[in-house]
Symmetry: C2
């Protein structure tokens, strides 16, 4: 794990309005995001293969995200 | 947006098994993750405030993630 930088996580949390964030808080959010990213990526890769492509494209990611998150509010 | 680096997204997608990823595929996954990160952060901040704290901690992030994602499989 640990592909997303803690500084990126910190920036996002400050944008959301956080005054202070514990180190464990930031690393936990990183873990959640990386786990989701792996799940979405695996699903998107399967969708690309299903379509006869080796390249994962934006539509694969959108479909995979909708399927795994069921979050239409993401607007993707 | 654009807080998470594209190189981080690329690393995660390769770990998931991707051979090739379009530029739009990577930027779309970044958007999905940043949107989720903002939503989880806002919820976590509200939970910290509710508990009388200014510091967002790991438990706030875990509770917020469970609430927003309903993904017990995340193991957080």
């Amino acid at each position: 794990m640990a592909d997303i930088s803690i500084s990126a996580i910190d920036r996002i949390m400050r944008k959301a309005g956080a005054e202070r964030v514990s180190e464990e808080g930031a690393t936990t959010l990183r873990e959640v995001l990386e786990t989701l990213a792996l799940d979405i990526s695996r699903e998107a890769i399967a969708l690309a293969k299903h379509a006869g492509r080796k390249t994962v494209n934006a539509e694969d990611i959108k479909l995979a995200s909708r399927k795994l998150l069921a979050l239409t509010k993401l607007g993707v």
